[in-house]
Subunit: 297 residues, 2 copies
């Protein structure tokens, strides 16, 4: 299986898991963002993490797709006018530009509980203990200790910056690290830990994959910041340079492009070391690391 | 135990279950609406449902409090400017009037996954099977098939009405019934079913309580509509007559106060019949029915 095969299977399942029933608009709005063509990095990493421990694809797909639904939820709400106010996402109008804003808020809400329902209703071979562990990971990542903590700090920092608050370079670096760990990292953490749990991994392996996820999350975000600075709308499907303009903390504005690229290279090296130290042999992980490392060039 | 004792215990636990940690604003915003003084009808009905089957209070409290958190979540998001745009709730400024709107959106999001986390982390005596069943009920009620379905139909109907859409009395009655069943009824359904599951009730009892919940939900909403028409701000803690003004379908505008009061009386009779037919002896349920029936006078 190659990345493009995984994307195809995940897309098929995402489509299958969200049928349109009454009231249609809520399901259409959920489907609109969930099914926007994407890299499906989080579900693929979940599947691949489980595969390291011998799990079957069918046992991982519900959780993998649930994580993509959670990811879509964060995109829908992050794009809202009262949040980042983004009109475009993945090259298409944002959810609230296609549906009334109220429906977009509710579609995000719905995905938050629809996703774990997909896990419970479709993971026929997972025993209760694994299901509860996977759900616990999901709740942690989705909630006030996970991506939401990251988003809150992001928003509040942006407001402080725009009011002319003076932070030292160290303080900014600390906030940025927190942001990356939670807003970006926690979904990768969820993907890798949930996959490992489904596969029946031991505690040591789960911890190793957690460390990998944290480093990968930061690497991914640095690569994204570099792209946001260097790319065009056509390449990233959203308005480039918007983060910088909005007064958002980014790795590139804080440390400059040169150091961002060096640190990205270093993090990818550390990711590879964790994989090899633990004999986690995965061509897919390597392929993903190569893709991310292109921004370091 | 009387209703006021239950309220005290539920309030204590709600306070305990949501400690304030970093980033503080999200937890403060969650707590603000969850801890507004309220009747705690849903948690009390959950506890009382479990008690019918011999469950201990400590085993029901986490789920009961989680349902109150979910209820608070619906209030926070329903009050948003893009939804019902309400400035007051329970006599106090709405969440987004106290916190930035973005924080209120995120506080609602956070509660959706925080609540089931409270169930998982605190229900030490519930086995995995019961936990999974309770979570399934939670996901159903919280999601696109539950309260959100009700809210979507409410919003869309309001817009159609304001655009001058012509619906027959029968069509309006059908929409109103759907609204009441989901927007209002599904949280009571969750309370009673989850309580029964925790108590280890058989299928027949769970079905009887489900029927009770559906009738009670409609009765509760009719009583609320009567109150909205007849009460002052001081009595209901929010702007009275607002639903009618907004072009919202309500029981009283559709059928008139007289029929609303008659139907309310009839529903309460049916609720009592279900309780007595099944030997569900509960002073608390009776007390709640008496309170609701005051609007029928």
């Amino acid at each position: 299986m190659q990345i493009k095969d995984y994307i195809e299977i995940v897309d098929l399942k995402l489509d299958e898991y969200i049928p349109i029933t009454y009231p249609e608009d809520i399901f259409k709005s959920m489907r609109y963002t969930v099914l926007l063509p994407g890299k499906r990095l989080r579900p693929i990493m979940c599947i691949e993490s489980a595969k390291l421990f011998g799990a079957k694809l069918e046992d991982t797909l519900p959780t993998a797709c649930a994580i993509e639904m959670l990811h879509a939820q964060t995109l829908i709400h992050d794009d809202l006018p009262c949040m980042d106010n983004d009109d475009f996402r993945r090259g298409k109008p944002s959810n609230h530009k296609v549906f009334p804003e109220a429906i977009s808020v509710l579609a995000g809400d719905a995905l938050l509980t629809f996703a774990p329902q997909v896990i419970l209703n479709n993971s026929k071979n997972l025993d209760y203990e694994k299901l509860i562990k996977v759900l616990n990971e999901y709740f942690y990542a989705a909630g006030a200790y996970g991506v939401i903590a990251g988003q809150v700090v992001d928003i509040e920092n942006e407001r402080k910056q725009n009011k002319g608050s003076e932070l030292s370079q160290n303080q900014k670096a600390e906030i940025l690290n927190y942001l990356h760990l939670h807003k970006t990292g926690d979904l990768f953490r969820l993907s890798l830990r949930a996959g490992a749990i489904i596969g029946g991994a031991d505690e040591k392996s789960i911890e190793a994959l957690t460390a990998f996820a944290e480093k990968f999350g930061i690497a991914f975000q640095i690569a994204d910041d570099i792209l946001d600075e260097e790319a065009t709308f056509g390449e990233i499907g959203k308005t480039p340079g918007k983060d910088k303009e909005a007064g958002k903390l980014t790795y590139t504005t804080l440390f400059g492009i040169k150091k961002a690229k060096e640190d990205l290279s270093e993090l990818i090296k550390e990711c590879r070391k964790i994989l090899s130290d633990n004999n986690f042999n995965s061509e897919i992980f390597e392929e993903i690391l190569i893709k991310i490392s292109k921004q370091a060039a």
